[in-house]
Amino acid sequence: MISTASFPAPKVVSQFQGNHSPNSRTGIGFRGRISVSASRASTVERAGSRIASTSSLYEVLGIRMGATCQEIKTAYRRLARVVHPDVAVANGQRGGQASADEFMKIHEAYSTLSDPDRRADYDRRLFGQQWAATSGFSGGRPRTWETDQCW
């Protein structure tokens, strides 16, 4: 058992996340969370926050998986009123970059979940991943599209 093993998490958490959702990667555990706080000093205070890179988009918005479109919009607006840089910086809560990062994450979650096609796509992958993780099947790899087509 190496005591410091949890800290230098793999640098797969790219600083500039593209369109791929965080869940397309393997390893839902806490390792990813730590890698976020370690890779950017400015976000250290958010290490314990709900918005870690590996939480699901639903968790990012703080809603349940079956949330309606209305609930998604409401949650997005509620969060925007707190974390948007215009608000957060004016209230002196945190620096512009930290709140910009947080807002971008929330917006990404919102834009995926508010688009029915992208949401369906995301749900399939999320379900596949959780199923694989709980059954200990194929090392937590998401299902391939061939098997996804079956149901």
């Binding site: 790219s14 500039f16 593209g18 209305q70 919009k73 409401t74 607006r77 925007a80 009123r81 948007h84 840089p85 215009d86 608000v87 910086v89 004016a90 209230n91 512009g96 970059q97 709140s99 910009a100 807002f103 971008m104 917006h107 834009s111």
Partner: protein
Amino acid sequence: MAEPAYTVASDSENTEEEKSSSTFPEIAIGIDIGTSQCSVAVWNGSQVELLKNTRNQKMMRSYVTFKDEVPSGGVSNQLSHEHELLSGAAIFNMKRLIGRVDTDPVVHASRSLPFLVQTMDIGVRPFIAALVNNVWRSTTPEEALAIFLVELRAMAGIQLKRPVRNVVLTIPVSFGRFQLTRIERACAMAGLHVLRLMPEPTAVALLYAQQQQQTAHDNMGSGSEKIGLIFNMGAGYCDVAVTATAGGVSQIRALAGTTIGGEDLLQNMMHHLLPNAETLFSTHGISEIKAIGLLRVATQDAIHKLSFQASVQIDVDLGNGSKINKVLDRQEFEEVNKKVFEKCESLIIQCLHDAKIEVEDVNDVIAVGGCSYIPKVKDLVLNVCKRQELYKGMNPLEAAVSGAALEGAVASGISDPFGNLDLLTIQVTPLAIGIRADGGKFVPIIARNTTMPARKEMTFTTVHDNQTEALIIVYEGEGQQNAEENHLLGYFKIVGIPSAPKGVPEISVCLDIDASNVLRVYASAKHRGPHQKAMPSMEVRMPTVDDGHGWCAEALHRAYGSTSDLVTVQKKI
């Protein structure tokens, strides 16, 4: 990182003011600098109030005269406007000219103004001058705007009984970042600090959000989401926004804008009324300027009257032997300007499409700006939106400046006990930003209508074997295929790319727009394989171009050819 020089501009006067006003937060004022008219508004503690000049006017003509040694703006001396317009001493339409080079069609069209706009067509700023005692006194749109803003600032300071420094300005949607730097420079010259530059229809959207929130409060309702389409057409620009608002949050879904406005209607009509107008416009003698001025005033007057009556009689003696006596009716006016109106329609359709909103889902259609008084403009907006009537409850001329004043109060950290300032605007990028790659093409990295703040990355590779340099040429625009049809923002090069066959090195380009709308470009060569050699990377704040930027693209091409080009890496799916 190099800060552009204009942001450090300050003067001793300001530091003194800051000391005296440091005890309470200064509320930023909202300014709507129109192509034709200008207005100022401020949150007075309970509502937005428009400031009036000494002649009790809320709307002030945007112009500057260079009659004497000291130039003066149009904030207070409205009476002499018409006379100075005819003498060539008045400079106006600054907003149409600012930040444009002399190859721009908008600058070319401005040669018909009754002062000097000369173009050499070499990609530099145009030669703009006012006639003062028979001598051309050269100026720039920034200088003219700054002179005007100094007067506005003084007027606001007197009325508010405190020095004014922080401002929120409204800008057209189609303004590129280079143009924004010119606006900021004019403000800095006038001793004003820009808190926000707000696309005009988003300022209107903020006012709409506040009104909707107010209604929801009054009805004790939950405040369900409302979709608003905002059409804003002034003298210089036409802008459209689609906004989704609930609970004081105004989420901009899409923006669309173009340089088309009342000025185009006016110029088209002038050409229509005087078929040989071009020869008149090409010479700028004293008598020609007077003739242009007379034609302009008469045509403008006729267009205004046509908004309220079906036809108008035009009688004008241009003083050079040509007289115009004509009855003009609405039908003729609409026929002459058919293309302008078609463009307006297509802008609305494009904005709805980009917002992914069906026209049936729009709750309110809002038309503002001076041109919204024109019956044809009202009709086309209603037609495209399949509506019977427009949103009421906004003054078309005051909506944008009121929204700017609201944003000014919000951005200054002012709160209102009744929740009237519980507002937030979620903005989107009005233009796409990307780099030149794939053989002179524009490759957008941040698409138009992307929510801000935003950060996007793309990977490129080299086009030649052992290519060790890559030119990163950053453009902004509506996404025209050919890079050069977009606005150049700046360029730099990555050197020291390890020698490799073409297509092997990975060059990552990341664009970041932060919460203050500052654009940064990070470019770096990526590590491949196990070697840990330091790889070249650079971070540059944009824009970096200066006034001569029209030269740059061509000069770069001449100097480099395709030796330092990049191509996009096809994404593996």
